[in-house]
Amino acid sequence: MSWKIKYLKKSPWVFHVNTGACNNCDIEIVDLLTPKFDVERLGIKLVGSPRHADALLVTGGVTAQAAPRLREVYRQTPKPCVVFAIGACACDKGIFTNGYHMVGPVDKIIKEIDPNAIIAYVPGCPPKPEAIISGVVKALSVI
């Protein structure tokens, strides 16, 4: 294991990207930071810039307007980084599969610019906060 991966797993700072979600997954992510779940005690911290982040929390099947922004945010994130696709839409476009505006899902957009990207999926509509924590832990234990 390279030292980069080792330090990535210690205390991942995350950046939240909404690429056309209905806001439900975003509320669950905010829920993670409130005192009940309080992921900051585990070292997971929400940061305000992708340049400071180790992981991206992406919600929403990607819309045509959001796709170039998601690629740009991914380019700005220091590598190695983990992309978490949070929710059914981010994993596989969910109920918006046939929407005229959908170009996603998230893994397709990310793999266009980086075929070796590390992508983790947390399905659910919306996923429970426990499920998101569990997904992060599982993803960090296998990379």
Partner: protein, 146 residues
């Protein structure tokens, strides 16, 4: 003004309507052709006066419909004005935004998604489609394919 007076007030414009339905005491459906839409909306908004809620655009195969929804809060009555746009090739309707600024955005959305030309709109920029969406492709029309 109670409900009966509201009904009487609205029946002043019956000459310009092609349909009038009142399935419930507090629900009124009016229908008209596109050329009368501006005058009727102006009457409903300024003369009655009703509160503008929202507009709905529908592609119903042989014509386009725009439904202008209004509320009358004293009696809880909802009034819907259905406007039929018969010309499918170049659908157009007069903008109601000059006297009703709240309708600006929904008219821009109707233009984006259904391609209905809104004449005399003060600010007809793209509202909800992506910046690189091709011109002349209207996603909510019947003929639009995925």
């Amino acid at each position: 003004m109670n409900q009966e007076e509201l009904n009487n007030k609205i029946s002043e414009i019956k000459a310009k309507l092609i349909g009038y339905e009142q399935p419930l005491a507090n629900r009124i459906y009016l229908s008209c052709e596109a050329e009368n839409s501006y005058a009727l909306n102006k009457f409903l908004f300024e003369e009655v006066p009703l509160r503008f809620l929202i507009a709905t655009g529908i592609d119903s195969e042989d014509c386009f419909e725009i439904l202008y929804h209004y509320a009358y809060d004293q009696t809880g009555c909802v009034v819907t004005l259905k406007t039929f746009i018969r010309d499918r090739e170049n659908p157009s309707v007069e903008s109601i935004s000059p006297f009703l600024p709240a309708a600006e955005w929904i008219e821009r959305e109707l233009h984006d998604l259904l391609g209905i030309e809104i004449k005399n709109h003060p600010d007809m920029r793209r509202l909800i489609l992506a910046d690189d969406w091709p011109e002349g492709v209207y996603p909510l029309r019947k003929e639009a394919k995925k």
